[in-house]
């Protein structure tokens, strides 16, 4: 049964898987970042199908808009040479393929096995006035308010850490040295001279 919903799903999941392959297989890091952006876009379309509008938009705005831009900026600064990822690939490729196939196979087996199948969940039709943002907010700001604030602290910590790590002390800027300021003595600053002493 092909409905428009299925068409949208197939289109965007195929796009996500294709661009995911290109992320790991394209030769240059810059191309990988751009394909990762495409993956994020198509997965956010899938999230929209799952009624997670807020998170889908957050994925595009924060992830594509901020994190991927950060990746691009860092790539521009790093001046990476062409990746040499094909070295030794032939030796590892069978094992990689085996590992990934086993991983996907196990996951697919679990998902389609009858006793633990989750396919039987009945999806209730969503009310016309369903508001994902209000729904999410009513949980996030009540039961999860402390984790929410912890997340804010994590972001602050990440910001401070990133600035502190990458900051170079400017060589010619005039800054105060509190240690020297505190250690100063009166005789360093004040010289008493006799009146009439021409010195």
């Amino acid at each position: 049964m092909i409905t428009p919903l299925y068409l949208i799903f197939y289109f965007f999941s195929a796009l996500a898987v294709f661009s995911g392959v290109m992320v790991i297989a394209s030769g240059s890091a810059m191309r990988s970042v751009l394909f990762l952006v495409l993956t994020f876009f198509s997965m956010s379309a899938l999230w929209l199908l799952l009624n997670a509008e807020f998170l889908a938009l957050i994925l595009v705005l924060v992830y594509v808009g901020a994190v991927m831009t950060l990746f691009l900026f860092v790539l521009m600064m790093l001046r990476t040479s062409a990746m040499r990822w094909r070295e030794g690939l032939a030796r590892y490729l069978p094992w990689i393929g085996l590992l990934v196939l086993m991983l996907i196979g196990v996951l697919a087996m679990i998902l389609t096995k009858e006793p633990v199948s989750l396919i039987m969940f009945r999806v209730l039709p969503v009310a016309a006035d369903y508001n994902n943002l209000a729904d999410l907010g009513s949980v996030l700001y009540t039961s999860y308010v402390y984790p929410f604030e912890l997340a804010a602290v994590i972001l602050l910590m990440a910001m401070v850490a990133a600035i502190a790590l990458t900051r170079t002390p400017a060589a010619f800027s005039k800054t105060q040295n509190p240690h020297q300021q505190m250690a100063v003595k009166v005789r360093d600053r004040l010289k008493l001279i006799k009146d009439g002493d021409t010195q």
């Binding site: 994190v67 950060l70 860092v74 040499r84 590892y92």
Partner: protein, 101 residues
């Protein structure tokens, strides 16, 4: 409605691609970071799928937190990459042998 095993299968594929990307591109740190982003994306998709099919918003709250932590991780990881590049002139994993363990 699309059954959730479809969504979970796409998510499993992305997870496998992320793991394969870490193994294939382990010479290049920035691609490893991108593969980790792929893995986190697939985990988030799992959370959202179960949140939708179990009628439970808590899954989306967890996606929110995972996105926060992943953004922090990307910021600090890229900062470390920048200072690594500044110190050594390249970010080849093979040449990071200062600490001989």
């Amino acid at each position: 409605m699309i059954p959730e095993s479809y969504f979970l299968f796409v998510s499993a594929l992305l997870f496998g691609l992320g793991v394969a990307g870490i193994i294939i591109n382990r010479k290049n740190l920035i691609t490893v970071l991108m593969s980790i982003e792929l893995i986190l994306l697939s985990v988030n998709t799992n959370f959202i799928t179960f949140s939708y099919f179990l009628h439970n918003t808590v899954g989306q709250v967890f996606v929110f937190f995972i996105l926060t932590v992943a953004a922090a991780e990307a910021a600090i990881g890229l900062a470390i990459l920048v200072i690594l590049f500044r110190e050594r002139g390249n970010i080849e994993v093979d040449q990071l042998n200062t600490l001989r363990g």
